[in-house]
Amino acid sequence: MTYPMARAGASVLLCALALIHAPVQAQQSKNLAPGFSQRPAASKLVVVPADMELFSIGAGGVPEPRADWTLAAQKNVQAGLAARKLQLGGEVLGLEEKDMDELADINSLHGAVAQSVFLHHMMGGVLKLPTKNDALNWSMGDAVKPLKDKTGADYALFIWIRDSYASNERKAAMIAMAMLGVGIAGGAQIGYASLVDLNDGRIVWFNDLRRGIGDLREAEPAKETVDVLLKGFPASR
């Protein structure tokens, strides 16, 4: 059976890569909810287990999941967050994956909210929602109450990353293709970090990641990704 739409979709996907390689906007106001600039001193932050998946792209472009890289990335991001204790603030709580069982609804709802923020606010352009007036103005309302009740935290940080890396064969193919005048994508990072006020459900800070560089597999380069992801993360004073 042939599926014409999938064929058309493939060529449009190539355009998608161009979008992914777009430079990250670094405007402060875009990342902050109106009226919000910092967290109160002594506020508690809970870091929700990051949702990450790392892939290796083989010579032919087939993505393969890499469990070791994903595990390393999870450790590196955690370490990266720990190293920024100053930025994150005094009281930082973690949640275990198994804690998320009872928080599944909040997690999936936040995912849907983050997708709309990513699409309509961070990517913006023709996808902007005019009624938002260019403001980061989204809230989960009282849906976050169970998370607050469980942790006692004032803010929650959600992180989502999908990351792919060119394998050596892929890199060789890229070089060869480049010599023939053809560019092929080597790999990309897309993701977001989202800070939610657990007292009223507002997304108070949001940052997205869309680029063709970055390496979460090793500790040092991973810190760089975390730096970019958390650029402008509101301090607590």
Binding site: M1, T2, Y3, D105, P130, W138, M140, A143
Partner: protein, 196 residues
């Protein structure tokens, strides 16, 4: 990113999609007028022309208000995107309006419509009501979205005049969003009037 996002990104890139502000007097399909006091965002995708207008407050992965006006007998309530049918296969049925359909059957069309993507749909209330000045029905339903497991709540209104169907549905996440946004949807739907 999840499938919904990919589809939207692709639509955006194909230069298909545009989002405009709608407020004040609006007309759906030249046949149904509504008054919009709190502005909404209208999403247009000229590529696949759907028989409904789609508006949103918070974004396409969150809520939508769909408006159908003057749907004719034999017309589908939803158009499957081009290329979704494999070569050599007959297309699956889509919910289609027929003249003389009783109210319960019209409600069933929306049950089928919202389950088309594999989501679980359940009608929780169906009662007579007036919509767009004609006797019809108001229904409440719940949807568990296949793509990301999010639980949504919905309300729908429909009526007929001279063998043409008029309808509206509002859907939003059950937690926080539905209760907060329903009044905005209702304030639009309340003002619906058939033209011509």
């Amino acid at each position: 990113m999840k499938k919904i996002l990919i589809v939207l990104v692709l639509a955006f890139l194909s230069g298909c999609m545009s989002i405009t502000k709608v407020e004040g007097e609006q007309v759906v399909n030249n046949r149904m007028a509504v008054k919009v006091t709190d502005a909404w965002n209208k999403v247009s995708a000229p590529g696949t022309q759907q028989p409904f207008d789609m508006w949103t407050q918070e974004g396409l992965t969150l809520d939508h208000l769909r408006l159908w006006a003057a749907i004719k007998p034999g017309q589908a309530l939803l158009v499957r995107p081009a290329g979704s049918v494999p070569v050599g296969q007959k297309a699956a049925r889509v919910p289609t309006y027929q003249s003389g359909m009783p109210l319960d059957q019209l409600v069933n069309l929306f049950e089928v419509l919202y389950s088309a993507d594999g989501s679980m749909v359940s009608m929780t209330k169906v009662e007579p009501a007036v919509f767009a000045g004609e006797k019809g029905v108001r229904f409440e339903f719940s949807v568990t979205r296949k793509g990301d497991d999010v639980q949504l709540k919905g309300v729908g209104w429909l009526s007929q005049r001279k063998d043409e169907l008029y309808a509206a549905t509002f859907l939003a996440p059950k937690l926080a969003f539905f209760p907060r946004l329903l009044p905005k949807a209702e304030s639009v739907v309340r003002t619906a009037q058939i033209k011509g």
